[in-house]
Symmetry: C2
Subunit: 77 residues, 2 copies
């Protein structure tokens, strides 16, 4: 089973990397960009019998820092 | 308009970060994980009149390294 996990900073948490990208896009002449936030994308191949609870646990224990980040699990196939 | 850009390593490109995460998950006792690859997630707020061509250009010029990475643009709202 393919699983895609989107990890993004919680709203309100400063994102210097996103700010740098925003600034760089403006420097390249793109005017319409209002906000940029950078997150992580974890693509995993897991056994078909992996439970949602196990996936949640992996995210909370390792893949996301729950103090400043949110995650979203998307099953692809 | 909200746009989500998924940047991931091309198949065949070594992913040491993904390998480290895979190893760590195994160390935590999760047996069913077969492969892990780590990518970037860029969430942008752009003006509604931003064209697809402009978004493509941003990806190719700045957001993705086309030599080793692929990107996918997803319009959220």
């Amino acid at each position: 089973m393919k699983v895609r996990i989107h990890v993004s900073l919680k709203p309100g948490v400063l994102d210097p990397q996103g700010r740098a990208v925003h600034h760089a896009l403006e420097g390249l002449g793109y005017k319409g960009v209002e906000d940029v936030r950078i997150g992580r994308l974890v693509e995993m191949d897991v056994a078909d019998d992996t439970t949602d609870a196990a996936l949640d646990e992996m995210c909370q224990k390792l893949l996301a820092n729950m103090v400043i980040e949110n995650y979203r699990i998307e099953k692809v196939a």
